[in-house]
Assembly symmetry: C2
């Protein structure tokens, strides 16, 4: 079983004023968090910041200081002047922002396709379009097959930084196409095991006591009731652990048995 | 017009592992951010942390250091041992956690109602139920008319801290019933003015140039295109400003005119 201190963890940094004034709901983080959790990477913090170089850099540096294996930003890659994510990332890791030839090629070819499809008025590169090809030095280009702005992967010591677009369809396509297999190779070995059990007790405050007792012997196992409101008769409890293929099922089974015993104990008191 | 440096700002701190592993989507922050933005309070950061006393306290102290007028936490108020929000808040502000008699009365009366409605098995206070009545010293109790755990409001120098439940129906009911009028009284004087305009230009990179130009003369106005994908013919641009009742409309009109002129200028180049 992996302990909390040694297991890899991620910090997600969604970027954009529209997420902070409530115009847009950040659904990207949930998508990413689910996929990371399935390969045993815990998301330890999600911090939404405005399109501000300083704020972006500050959060990235903080995550690095804490030892994050993985930092994923979403948003702020477009052609508008308030899209400053790449600049913030470059600042944070102390590298220059340079015109990346592969990224430029990607932008050129995306606009040509969009022009041929009649979706933009002209095929030429403007300063604004060109802006999207500036990535931190040494970045690996991540292709955007839905929109135009490429993403980036930066290996920064033991920390990998992924810079992804904010439009959900673009982010998802890039994550599934360019990110997840890469992460599986890196973090392979452990994965999430999950068990949902139904207990008869319907009062969360009683279930709480049983969980507290069991949690002491199973510190790495996440045991959490799903409160669904009162009066439904019984309750679902989630039991989760990140463990190796060999150990996972057995740990869940033991924890589940211990929980049931603790509950029976309390109820017969 | 209020400048960014003098205008009040908030930091939202949603709490809970279920928000970090993707099991639950944080919709609370969008609800709160929208309502705050309407009364001229900017949300400067939303930071989701696990149910961990240290993490919670750290984020609260940081927001205070930065001069946040408002800190709002959501989640972690229930009876289970992993609900530690009140403890984290008390730690952050350097006050003791004490059994609040009004909160206790609230918990007692909520469980009596639930028992009478046949939704819980017994009416008596257990240790777990009683736990929900422990609030930081000096806190004002916020009633929970949907669930059981009361919330809290703490006046901490110039910073107001609201501790709200995580279940959306409970949070919304408490926010609308106990929080928003309170905030309006405090922050009254400015509010959000918003204008959506439709521009003919459909290429975001061209619109970007015009916005950049206009933004220089209207630094407090938020001008943001809504990219909806290519090929839709034209584009919607949001123009927003927080200003006094007297000035708001006029500022929007001027900014909108300037944007249209900048676009016409570029297109006739």
């Amino acid at each position: 079983m992996m302990s909390k201190t040694t297991s890899p963890f991620a910090v997600l940094i969604p970027i954009g004023k529209e997420l902070l004034n409530g115009r847009v709901l950040d659904t990207n983080s949930q998508f990413i968090a689910k996929k990371l959790w399935e390969i045993g990477v815990e998301v330890r913090r999600i911090v939404i910041v405005p399109d501000d170089c300083h704020d972006i850099a500050q959060e990235i540096k903080r995550a690095k200081r804490e030892g994050a294996s993985l930092i994923i930003t979403t948003g702020g890659l477009g052609p508008t002047p308030d899209d400053v994510t790449m600049m913030g990332v470059a600042d944070a890791i102390g590298r220059k922002l340079v015109e990346n030839q592969q990224a430029l090629q990607h932008v050129v070819s995306r606009y040509e396709t969009l022009f041929e499809q009649g979706k933009v008025d002209f095929r030429e590169l403007t300063k604004e379009r060109r802006k999207m090809a500036f990535l931190p030095e040494g970045a690996v280009v991540l292709k955007n097959d839905v929109g135009t702005a490429p993403g980036a992967k930066i290996v920064w010591g033991k920390t990998w930084v992924y810079v992804l677009p904010g439009v959900p369809s673009e982010m998802k396509s890039m994550f599934d196409g360019e990110v997840i297999e890469d992460l599986k190779r890196r973090f392979g070995g452990a994965r999430l095991f999950r068990l949902k059990i139904r207990v008869q007790e319907r009062d969360e405050s009683v279930v709480a006591r049983a969980i507290k007792k069991v949690q002491q012997s199973f510190k790495d196992v996440l045991i959490k009731p799903e409160p669904k409101g009162f009066g439904l008769g019984g309750m679902t409890v989630n039991i989760e652990v990140v463990a190796s293929e060999e150990e996972g099922e057995a740990i869940l089974e033991k924890a589940s048995k211990a929980l049931q015993e603790a509950l029976d104990g309390f109820l017969s008191e």
